[in-house]
């Protein structure tokens, strides 16, 4: 095959090279070299991705296979990449945002020792590499490599400061939660193999292959894939790892939340869109999971005081929106929201990182306040990101969120009402965060106040770039009501979702309905914004503990405690039982018993070996007599 896309293997290989050099040479490389190297490989990958994107834009899509990855009997799994509109878009997001985060990290992590610094960049590169493999994969097996890769990288990076036991536990939690989801993914892949004999996207999503699947197959596969997606994309019930993942350095959170990892589940479902479109039950489940997650996470975010925790729950909530979009068949809307969310969430995290940096590691918003005058660039970019996530027009979040809400309304007004409610809460908690951090008076210690400063340019430049993207990012998807044929993203992604769109029923909303929906969600968001602003602009620290519903929310609905008591504790009990009873009494007893039996038996038999020749001969004669009797009479 002489397709120019053949060289797309360079895109993932570059971060891998960066990982190897930084990882192996971490003791030798100086900080500037490893930081430069880590960023530059991602930058080159971004340039290549942009080139691939242009190729795709001009209509050059396809699958490139390099070699046989697994070849067993009739099953043949090639190692190949699928370059189409969907993966090209993700490539741009991953490498583009990834690069900005790498640049930011050079400054943010400068306090680390040079070996740790290189280690950090090597893991970041590996993370980008895994995510690139995940989105470029041509089949579920290769995708699984990336899928597991981002899981293990998240473990490495969340537990980056591994000397803190809580942080390593957070890393383990993320990894284990992901593993639970991965099992679903794996089972779905096996199901594909047993039914269609292949895992390649081109084959399993082809009409012939889909015809060979019964409705039960499709529903089961899609639900299993959903289990996988809930793990990676932090949906109910596997979302609790994401807030704990805040243990990692802040740029890592930005990378996990914006460019990599959590969008994997959305990507995978969008990739399998044809199956979901054929399984209405699964679609409903996806929508409900998404909606429930969006609301639950938004309510928790209302009462969090840790700046990163608020952002973490907002990510979960926004991911819930994406799942809602997938569930109602608005695949483009979901991808659109992935994109705009990547811009403003990366910006929010990097902005929060900048704040934490200035506050010398302080993350509690109750001790912040009044940072506006100290950090003008961080302040203004952060404000823009808050507008974007709150869905205030014309910022990017408005367009994508509006598209999702319109699709949800077309499916069922109930979805829409809950969606708007979540949007109001989103505006509220984001501006609570903003007001507590940047408005009012400084509430920290004098030392901290003395230290306050705007971050260096390596931090502010990525913030500015992301702020521009957050503001204008939405204009690639202007809804039909504003400009005919203005939804470029929809047109661009149309080939990927063409088959699904044929199957799914289309509810077209009248323009007046759509305007009304927009008006309601925008007014709701503005109300949330204003209330938060009024309430928290002059926030004063109080010692009164939360009570009632507030306490419930501040404690995250006690979900962690619930999981702890219904899953973790019984597992420990089972483990103890297996250890103390089955292992020590059963297995050890069996093994030691065998030994003791042999020991005892030999001690008894020892008496036979008396050393008396006569006795030996007697036994010999008796034995021969015995044999003789057996031979003759038996």
């Amino acid at each position: 095959m002489n397709n120019v896309l053949q060289i797309s293997w360079l895109i993932p290989i570059l971060p891998l090279i960066g990982f190897l050099i930084n990882g192996l040479g971490r003791k030798q490389l100086s900080k500037s070299v490893s930081g430069f190297l880590g960023s530059v490989v991602v930058l080159v990958a971004f340039c290549l991705s942009a080139w691939v994107f242009l190729q795709v834009l001009s209509g050059n899509t396809g699958t490139v296979n390099y070699f046989d990855f697994i070849h067993v009997g009739k099953l043949s799994i090639p190692f190949g990449f699928k370059i189409d509109q969907l993966s090209a878009l993700f490539l741009l997001i991953i490498t583009g945002i990834g690069f900005l985060i790498h640049v930011y990290s050079i400054s943010y992590m400068h306090g680390e020792s040079s070996a740790d610094f290189a280690k950090y960049f090597s893991f970041m590169n590996l993370f980008v590499f895994s995510m690139l493999i995940l989105v470029m994969a041509e089949n579920f097996a290769i995708m699984y490599i990336g899928w597991e890769g981002v899981g293990i990288c998240s473990y490495f990076l969340i537990g980056y400061w591994f000397k803190n036991k809580d942080y390593t536990n957070a890393g383990k939690k993320a990894f284990i939660m992901n593993r639970i989801g991965d099992l679903g993914f794996l089972l779905a892949a096996f199901w594909f193999i047993s039914k269609t004999g292949s895992v390649s996207f081109d084959k399993v999503f082809a009409p012939e292959a889909i015809k060979s699947l019964t409705n039960v197959d499709i529903t089961a596969i899609t639900l299993l894939l959903l289990v996988g997606a809930t793990g990676k994309s932090a949906q109910i019930p596997l979302y609790t790892w994401l807030p704990d993942a805040m243990a990692g350095p802040t740029p890592v959170s930005a990378l996990i939340h914006a460019a990599t990892m959590v969008t994997a589940g959305v990507y995978m479902i969008a990739r399998s869109n044809i199956l979901y479109s054929m399984a209405p039950l699964s679609q409903t489940v996806v929508a409900i999971v998404g909606l429930a997650t969006a609301v639950l996470a938004a309510t928790i975010a209302l009462k969090q005081n840790d700046i990163k925790k608020v952002l973490a729950y907002s990510t979960i909530s926004q991911l819930g929106y994406m799942f809602l979009a997938l569930g109602v068949g608005a695949y483009t809307g979901a991808i659109f929201h992935v994109m705009t969310h990547a811009f403003f969430k990366a910006l929010l995290f990097l902005g929060a990182g900048s704040v934490i940096h200035a506050m010398s590691g302080e993350q509690d918003m109750r001790n912040m306040g009044g940072l506006k005058k100290h950090m003008p660039i961080t302040h203004i970019t952060f404000l823009l990101a808050c507008f974007a996530i709150a869905g205030i027009p014309p910022f990017s979040g408005f367009f994508s969120k509006d598209e999702i809400l319109a699709a949800a309304f077309a499916k069922s007004p109930v979805y829409w009402i809950i969606g708007v409610l979540t949007a109001v809460m989103t505006a509220f908690y984001m501006f609570r965060l903003y007001a507590m951090t940047f408005k009012g008076n400084f509430r920290g210690t004098h030392e901290q106040e003395h230290h306050l400063h705007e971050s260096p340019s390596l931090i502010t430049i990525p913030l500015i770039v992301l702020a521009i993207l957050s503001v204008i990012g939405g204009f690639v998807g202007i809804p039909e009501v504003f400009a005919a044929n203005g939804h470029h993203l929809n047109n661009f992604l149309e080939p990927v979702f063409r088959d699904s769109n044929k199957i799914l029923a289309h509810h077209s909303l009248t323009h007046s309905t759509e305007y009304a929906l927009m008006a309601v969600s925008v007014v709701g968001a503005v109300i949330g914004l204003v209330i938060a602003w009024k309430k928290f602009a002059a926030y004063q620290k109080t010692d009164s503990a939360e009570s009632g519903l507030g306490k419930l929310l501040a404690n995250k609905w006690y979900v962690d405690e619930l999981y702890n008591s219904i899953i973790v504790k019984p597992m420990y009990a089972l483990g103890n039982f297996l250890n103390n009873v089955v292992e020590k009494k059963g297995i050890d007893g069996l093994v030691n018993g065998t030994g003791r039996l042999v020991n005892y038996g030999s001690r008894q038999l020892r008496w036979l070996q008396s050393g008396q020749v006569g006795a030996y001969i007697l036994l010999m004669v008796l034995g021969m007599l015995g044999l003789f009797i057996i031979q003759l009479f038996l």
Partner: protein, 110 residues
């Protein structure tokens, strides 16, 4: 003569040998009893060979009739050689322990 008489004689000799080996403690007597057992078997071999030679089927071609008798001579030659070795061992034992009572020959124990 009836073959049964030979078998009976061989059995008596063999059992004598066994009983002698089991109940006597003198190494030389045990050795003699072993020889007795060996030769009772030899006797049986010769007897069966003679019986075999007299059977009608073999009479037609008497080529193998004397084989067993010759075989037994060989056995006795080998046994004589073995006896010389065995007696040499017993002599050495006697020099070491001043006794040929096998019940004292349990030094390898423990």
């Amino acid at each position: 003569m009836d073959i049964k008489a030979y078998i009976t004689l061989a059995m008596v000799l063999f059992c004598t040998g066994i009983v002698g080996v089991l109940i006597r403690r003198n190494a030389i007597i045990i050795f003699m009893c072993i020889e007795l057992m060996l030769n009772s078997v030899n006797l049986l071999l010769v007897a069966f060979s003679k019986m075999h030679a007299l059977s009608p089927a073999v009479k037609a071609s008497p080529t193998y009739a004397a084989d067993a008798q010759i075989f037994v001579f060989f056995i006795m030659v080998v046994a004589a050689a073995e006896v010389s070795v065995g007696l040499a061992i017993i002599v050495m034992l006697y020099r070491h322990t001043k006794s040929i009572d096998i019940n004292f020959l349990n030094r390898l124990k423990n």
